[in-house]
């Protein structure tokens, strides 16, 4: 872990946060308005999604031709390709929570940095949630 990889990780976090701030994605009310397809649908965030996917796709194509990252780090990509019940269940639970409050983990971290107390409540639930899955795994 070199200094330059720490700087690039810090920069990535900063720019990601800027993206959430500029687009309004960090504001749960904007996200809820994006879910309001039968009412006053604010479809603008779809543009944000599509553009971020398009740019990321170029980066994935580029990295696909390399064996190591520019800074010499190992490239670690998810290799799982099993369509499991866990995937369905997890995506459902995630979507229900997201539809209730309009907040997901990235924006919640931005709100934490913006001193919104609501982000603390979110993480009080979120952190036990991400580790509960470990208990399930033991049963399989």
């Amino acid at each position: 872990m070199t200094l330059s990889t720490k700087i690039s990780a810090l920069l990535s976090g900063l720019i990601f946060g800027f993206g959430l701030l500029i687009s309004g994605f960090f504001n749960p009310n904007s996200v809820l308005a994006f879910f309001d397809i039968f009412g006053n649908w604010a479809q603008g965030l779809m543009i944000t999604f599509i553009l971020s996917i398009a740019i990321s796709a170029l980066a994935f194509i580029y990295i696909g031709h390399r064996s190591k990252s520019i800074l010499g780090e190992k490239i670690i990509l998810p290799e799982k390709n099993i369509i499991s019940q866990k995937l369905f269940l997890g995506a459902c639970l995630f979507g229900i929570g997201w539809g209730l409050i309009g907040l997901c983990p990235g924006p919640a971290l931005v709100l934490l940095g913006n001193f919104n107390v609501e982000a603390i409540y979110f993480f009080v639930g979120f952190i036990p949630g991400i580790f509960l899955n470990n208990l399930f795994n033991r049963n399989y």
């Binding site: 900063l14 309004g24 999604f49 190591k68 995506a91």
Partner: protein, 131 residues
């Protein structure tokens, strides 16, 4: 216009982490990995999270951050936070990991997860906001 700039910034952040660090920008995975082993090494995850948390402070030096009121009660935030944490962990990803990174690399798992997440969110929102 701000939707376009936001999309460019998010896509650039994903690209930086991938091209320089060789890593996927998936927030729930990053938080999980960080909490599992917070201080054993000064990891890239720590610096990424630091950048994200510092972003509003830096941003507010140049631009105004919109103010808004979060209408969800503390209990609703905690319960939803729990569902989101458990869901992200079961499906190995959240909005950033599946819907942005996964979809852009055409991962079948991520495309399915994104469709389900969006559908569940649309349905939940519209059922809980019937007027």
């Amino acid at each position: 216009m701000h939707y376009i700039l936001g999309g460019i910034a998010i896509g650039s952040a994903v690209s930086i982490l991938l091209i320089f660090n060789g890593r996927i920008l998936g927030i729930s995975g990053i938080i999980r990995g960080f909490l599992k082993n917070p201080f054993a090494e000064m990891s890239w995850r720590l610096f990424f999270i630091l950048g994200l948390i510092l972003s509003p402070t830096l941003y507010s030096k140049f631009f105004e951050i919109q103010t808004f009121e979060i209408l969800s009660s503390p209990l609703k935030l905690i319960l939803s936070g729990f569902l989101i944490g458990l869901g992200a962990s079961l499906s190995n990803g959240c909005t950033s990991g599946h819907s942005v990174c996964g979809v852009s690399r055409l991962s079948k798992r991520s495309i399915i997860a994104t469709v389900i997440m969006m559908l569940a969110a649309f349905i939940t929102f519209n059922l809980t906001n019937l007027t």
